[in-house]
Symmetry: C2
Subunit: 243 residues, 2 copies
């Protein structure tokens, strides 16, 4: 891990860009914590530059709540090299949506599964590096991003103690198998009127989660209109499980 930039945000939070090999990432820490704090991995759908305002907002809330927060770029997104197969899958999705066709399992698998298979080990490698830092210690939480990535990560990465899953993207069939292997507490956020969200699948996924403690919060507001109180409830979930 190599830090490439550093700046202090208005509220004193320290924001550092880093690279892990060719993978760009960002780490936010309080800059005034006297001891190691739990780490929040902040997931997103890809494109750090585009997602920066929302990422920074979530990260700042996490740091204010007593955690460190970090994210990395997804494979094939942002500045990272594209894969022809991923681009083809996105084009096929676009075509199906424009033609008014249902988005079939085959397109979903081609769109999402390679991303999961590549991204999950990358987030685990990022965890290795981030947990070696003096600022981090204790539990790790994962929140948001592509739900199939979050579910797989929560299923296979033992250092993740709690998962916040955002039901806002297509769900491959394999993700249901991953879900059954998840045992850590899970908080699923569902925007009930999200036109991009196959709601039935999201509810079935919640049902499939193997966690003995799991909670689903459904609200109105469309894909990006998560109510503020919902964000606060998610923050309390992580406070309960990471501290």
């Amino acid at each position: 891990m190599r830090f490439t930039s550093e700046r202090r945000l208005d509220d004193g939070i320290l924001e550092r860009e880093f690279t892990l090999g060719e993978i760009p990432g960002i780490l936010w820490t309080s800059g005034s914590a006297s001891e190691p704090v739990p780490l929040m991995l902040v997931g997103h759908p890809g494109g750090l530059r585009t997602m920066y305002p929302r990422l920074a907002g979530r990260a700042r809330q996490a740091v204010t709540n007593g955690f460190a927060a970090a994210t990395i770029e997804l494979p094939g997104r942002g500045d990272r090299p594209r894969s022809p197969e991923a681009e083809q899958a996105r084009a096929d999705l676009r075509r199906a949506v424009e033609a008014g066709e249902p988005v079939g399992d085959e397109i979903v698998d081609r769109l999402i599964l390679p991303l999961v298979e590549q991204a999950v080990p990358e987030w685990q490698a990022a965890l290795d590096a981030l947990l070696a830092l003096p600022e981090t210690g204790g539990r790790v939480g994962y929140s948001g991003g592509v739900i199939a990535v979050g579910v797989r990560l929560a299923a296979v990465e033992p250092r993740i103690a709690a998962a916040g899953l955002y039901a806002g993207s297509f769900i491959p069939r394999a993700t249901f198998d991953d879900a059954r292997l998840v045992t850590v507490p899970a908080h699923v956020l569902l925007q009930w009127d999200d036109e991009w969200n196959p709601r039935r699948q999201a509810l079935d996924l919640f049902d499939a989660l193997g966690s003995t403690e799991k909670t689903l919060h459904a609200n109105l507001g469309g894909h990006t209109g998560v109510p503020q109180f919902a964000g606060e409830e998610a923050a309390r979930f992580f406070a309960r499980h990471l501290r």
Copy 2:
């Protein structure tokens, strides 16, 4: 309304039993509030004596949060006279459940609709009396109990500003029509693994609610195992809408 008893609970809360005609009820107030406070109507499935511990717990939380709280007995429950039709419907339900048969719409209608049709005007009459008291003023919330009663009340009673609905009982088809007429903020609690809860119906009911702000919280814990954090989230919902 006639107060029939009064006692001070350990935490200073004033608990008064009352009758409204032949209907027994209980009112809880802080006993030290200097001005009128919003009122929480505390719903329940019937049988004040049996439900008292849970009712008192919810009422005390409401009073601690700055509200007055009140409840009345349901028609045909507790000490109130039974109706032959209601008893027949309960017997038919029991027989269907014991025979492993699905509980059909007809039994649900006979079990729940007469209760709704009688109870809702009674809760409205209780509201008339309770809001005439010096201790109450401002907004009114309704929480819990038989979901069909809560939905009808939220739909027809303009003084109710926010509804907490507990999805733990059978839902008549007519309740979906009532739900579409609900416009106030709604917080629906669903115990995902509640064996008495027709989950699909509960989700469809949430969908049918006409409220522009609504939230569904689903948790594990069975019919009576609502996690403490879930109760706190509901309390925050009412704090947002009643204060």
